[in-house]
């Protein structure tokens, strides 16, 4: 018997505990996580503790212009928390300038980012987890835990879109948590974010046919 773990909220589907027994493979493909409603594809089989040796890539010491834009909009949020409205506004303007300084990455389909998502999940996150534990950096660990879950959701979204196409969001809405980036597909906004537990007023709907 095996265990399957929801990569979004951590719910464990334990074949040993299900009564009457329903094997994982017997669950229908539209079965969802009872806790956070993530699709079946967001679950991974619990592996025995055998680690691959992962290698760190060279890191570019200079930030790209797009990355600078991200740091600057993060600093705008830092000003917002201190009620420094004017400073917040200036950082946002700088961030926008840097975002538009270079062209965006030509992309044909949602699945074009699949390999980057997979690499985050297979390499970058395990290494970052290990480092945060080693350094006892609980702050970094928090950001890693949250964004890894949100990344798992993106991975399953892309996968589901390949199979379901436009049926994926038929009769449902799309929401994004402004705190942790978790994407939620459902009829109503969740009461709290399944990942970071922020209340629904910080979870926003992404409307169809509307580009920011």
């Amino acid at each position: 018997m095996a265990k399957y773990v929801c990569q979004v909220c951590g719910f464990v589907y334990d074949e040993d505990q299900v009564n009457p027994l329903v094997l994982w493979d017997e669950l229908s493909s539209d079965w969802v996580c009872p806790l956070c409603k993530a699709p079946k594809s967001a679950f991974k089989k619990e592996k025995s503790q055998q680690k691959d040796v992962l290698k760190r890539e060279e890191v570019n010491k200079n930030w790209t212009t797009k990355e600078i834009s991200i740091i600057l909009s993060n600093l705008a949020k830092g000003c917002e928390k201190q009620y420094l409205e004017h400073e917040q506004d200036l950082f946002l303007k700088l961030s926008e300038y840097y975002q538009n300084l270079e062209e965006d990455l030509p992309t044909q389909a949602l699945s074009d980012i699949q390999s980057d998502v997979d690499k985050d999940l297979s390499h970058h996150y395990p290494l970052a987890h290990e480092m945060a534990d080693q350094m006892k950096d609980r702050g970094a660990k928090r950001a890693i835990v949250w964004s890894e879950k949100s990344t798992n959701m993106i991975a399953s979204l892309i996968e589901r879109y390949q199979q379901e196409k436009e049926n994926l969001t038929k009769d449902t809405k799309v929401f994004v948590c402004e705190i942790c980036g978790f994407i939620y597909i459902g009829a109503h906004v969740p009461e709290i974010c399944p990942v970071c537990k922020v209340p629904s007023l910080k979870i926003h709907e992404v409307k169809r046919g509307y580009v920011l």
Partner: protein, 165 residues
């Protein structure tokens, strides 16, 4: 020099108005819902009396941010780079796609990546706008950018946000 001041989270305020009764200077009674910082003496009476916890005290000067290990920053940097790349790809896709559902999902994934990357950047040494890291970044902008208006804004931020670490 005053160390703290009260601020009001207007979304939590249930207009019980107890703050008006306990404030010794009238700083909490304003037409725009904000505390008048010029009158607030940071005594905290409004914070203690507010039944809806809409008021809190914030410091004028924040403590220096936590120092991060370079190896930790590098691991976060790799993640930020990847999120940034994915954000850019989705931004391109939503602007060049006609299919409303792909546009909607691309927008959601773009926003998600921005939020994740910002949070990771915060933990990679960019928590406080008053940090040396922020100051160094602003200096780099001032020295390398051509746009005079952008340069001016970066200079203004350097002036407004003195380094605290």
């Amino acid at each position: 020099m005053k160390k703290m001041r009260a601020i009001r989270n207007i979304r939590l305020c249930t207009k019980d108005c107890l703050c008006l009764y306990v404030c010794p200077t009238g700083a909490s009674d304003t037409e725009n819902g904000q505390i008048d910082a010029t009158k607030c003496i940071g005594c905290g009476m409004c914070v203690q009396s507010c039944p809806s916890h809409a008021l809190s005290l914030v410091p004028y000067e924040y403590p220096a941010q936590q120092v991060k290990e370079p190896a930790m920053i590098d691991d976060l940097h790799r993640l930020i780079s990847s999120k940034s790349k994915q954000e850019s790809a989705m931004r391109y896709l939503k602007q060049h796609q006609q299919d409303p559902i792909i546009m909607q999902l691309a927008q959601a994934i773009e926003t998600s990546n921005r939020v994740m990357a910002e949070d990771l950047a915060r933990e990679a040494g960019y928590m406080l706008p008053q940090s040396q890291n922020t100051h160094t970044l602003l200096q780099m902008i001032i020295e390398t950018v051509d746009d005079e208006n952008i340069k001016k804004m970066a200079k203004e931020l350097v002036k407004l946000l003195p380094v605290n670490d």
